[in-house]
């Protein structure tokens, strides 16, 4: 582990980072990655998956989190009579299933993972309903073939985060390498069968809350800090911090504060290409809800969409189809596109 990583781990261990955005690379969309400290472009580990012993629990290769404090209270969420304690809700090998009626019966790899191989259950991060959160992928309603392709891409090193610190992308690469073909098919069939539901509220705003990020880079409003000028970025945070972060509410929702005017600019780019690119609907369907094996992009969080666009632009996500589409787009263009797409009903 490099000194830098050790330092990062130590800082993270001490709890949440209140953001001190350092815009070393002025157009780097750090808001989408949840790492607001500057990225050392010279770090030799850049674009590399950090080393991890072959059969290690993926979690042990990343920074170690603060153990969740069990308060012994059975918590509840709206719309369900099931109750779980905080530790039960977050149990790594069988997280809470708050809304069993929202999804089909889960295959074992999704519900409980495989402790022996260190594969944490898909449902822990992506939830039983596949909605996911800002810091990971929204896998519900994606075409099964697309999910299979992406698992291959993770495995082959063709889908890496442009920000090498993004631990969950690295974990996903390891998990994809360990899943059997049968398990991959189960996962793809399962998540593709669940409709994706809108989860983001987009607000054009001059100001936005200051942000802090969890160990896993869930972005949350810093409730003690005053709002500040948004500037040329998106701030996308949980609507309900306790429910989303602590209780892992799979119906959790997010709010994206986007610059004033970004939606109109994004709409023009998405629907016409604005002379810089082709319209998104050409491949993603005119309603942006996907077409064939091309995934739907409507209503996903701006953070997720921006990361994918940026990763392709940086070359860490290999996509022969998307690379030329992005060739003439600036970070700001992509941000405007992400803002507009998040407003679309999925």
């Amino acid at each position: 582990m490099s000194n830098k990583m050790l330092l990062t781990a130590l800082v993270l261990y001490c709890g949440f980072n209140t953001v001190q955005a350092q815009q070393d690379a002025p157009d780097w969309p750090n808001w989408a990655y949840g790492y607001f400290e500057s990225l050392e472009e010279t770090d030799p580990n850049i674009y590399q998956v950090p080393e991890c012993p072959e059969m290690a629990n993926p979690r042990s290769c990343g920074p170690v989190g603060v153990p969740l404090v069990e308060d012994g209270v059975k918590h509840s969420l709206p719309g369900t009579s099931l109750t779980f304690t905080r530790v039960e809700a977050n149990y790594s090998w069988q997280p809470a299933d708050w809304y069993p009626g929202d999804h089909p019966e889960m295959p074992e790899i999704i519900a409980t993972g495989d402790m022996e191989r260190g594969i944490r259950p898909c449902a822990l991060c992506h939830f039983p309903n596949g909605q996911g959160k800002v810091e990971n992928g929204h896998v519900s309603g994606l075409p099964a073939n697309y999910i299979l392709q992406q698992l291959e891409a993770f495995k082959n090193g063709e889908r890496i985060s442009a920000d090498y610190r993004k631990a969950n992308t690295n974990e996903m690469a390891r998990i994809a390498a360990w899943l059997t073909d049968e398990e991959k098919q189960q996962v793809a069939d399962y998540y593709s069968s669940i409709p994706f539901r809108s989860m983001t509220r987009v607000v054009e705003s001059e100001d936005a809350p200051q942000v802090r990020a969890s160990l896993n880079r869930l972005t949350m409003p810093d409730e003690d800090a005053p709002w500040q000028a948004l500037g040329n970025q998106i701030v996308e945070v949980t609507e309900d911090l306790e429910e989303t972060e602590i209780m892992r509410n799979p119906r959790g929702t997010f709010v994206a504060y986007v610059p004033v005017g970004s939606l109109a600019k994004g709409e023009e780019l998405v629907t016409t290409g604005a002379g810089k690119t082709i319209l998104c609907g050409a491949c993603h369907g005119l309603d942006l809800k996907g077409f064939g094996d091309v995934p739907s992009i409507a209503g996903r969080t701006a953070s997720y969409i921006m990361r994918q666009l940026w990763d392709v632009k940086q070359g860490t996500r290999v996509s022969p189809l998307m690379a030329p589409v992005l060739a003439n787009l600036s970070a700001e263009d992509m941000m405007n596109i992400s803002a507009y797409l998040a407003t679309q009903a999925p």
Partner: protein, 343 residues
Amino acid sequence: MKTLSKFPVLLVALGIGGLQAQAIDWPDWAYARYEPITEEDFEIPARSGEPPPYREDGSVDEDEPKLVLPGTSFSFTDNEVNNFYGPADWYPGDHPEMPELVARGNPERGIRACAFCHFATGQGKTENAHLAGLPVAYVMGQFQAFINGDRSTSDPRKPNTYEMIRISEMMTEEEMLEVAEYYERVPFRSMVRVVETDLAPQVETLSTQLVVPIEGAPWIPLGAKIVEVPENPHATEALRDPRSTFVSYVPIGSVAKGEDLVETGGGKTIQCSACHGPGLRGLANVPGIAGRTASYNMRQMWDVKMGTRLSPLMEGVVANLSSDDMLNILAYVATLVPHEFGD
């Protein structure tokens, strides 16, 4: 009026114990009317079922603030939200494309959009019905029952039941089928959180029949009833949030008692799953009851008991059940997960 034919039955039922009996075990919490029923309440004007006078053009006043809800970037003014003939569709991704009558109703015939009360998703609220996922044949049967006077309310002060009768009478068979097929396609999602408790919020009934907690009032002993209110009254009432959820405060011990009655019949009736299927998620044309609000289910059972909802199947089932038994049953039923995914 055909619906009148049921009232002699009700009057007889009330007449035996008089209004005293009503005061003791009448589940007023399910009907959201807490004063005793009087003879005047049976007068026809109260049952006209006309929509209450309210803005109905959906016009947008530039100065009116835009309202928002979590999980959607759509925003609507109060007037758009409350448009009888095209209410706000907050979450278009949550449901298939709506038939005209569901989305906009029919202003010429005074048929308000189904989505106005039952929502585009068919989830509905405590004071009306949860249509999502109900079998087509069952919904068609209920339209007929409304028309034939076989489904009315035992509390005559429930205007939305009368409106539903009026709407059913005006709908064509084709429209009924369209509506029934539409709502069958939308899966019903869990919407109730059940809490066993000694204390519950004090409540008031809004003009729309929705029961909400009185803000700032202290909680009081619950007693032998259920208090069922929206988790977020503002979103449910003012914004007509179709993802609204509810919390049911139920007496301590009621869920276990209800479970016994549901699972075994408790020597008083037969187990519910015999007809309503495993998990009470419905079986063939018998509707699912799991996870529906206690208020809705209680009204149906009580109306059957009082004879204002005719059900040859359910009549015998409720014959030996007290109001208390039904409350326990419905507290338990509300805790159940409503559906296997996709059912």
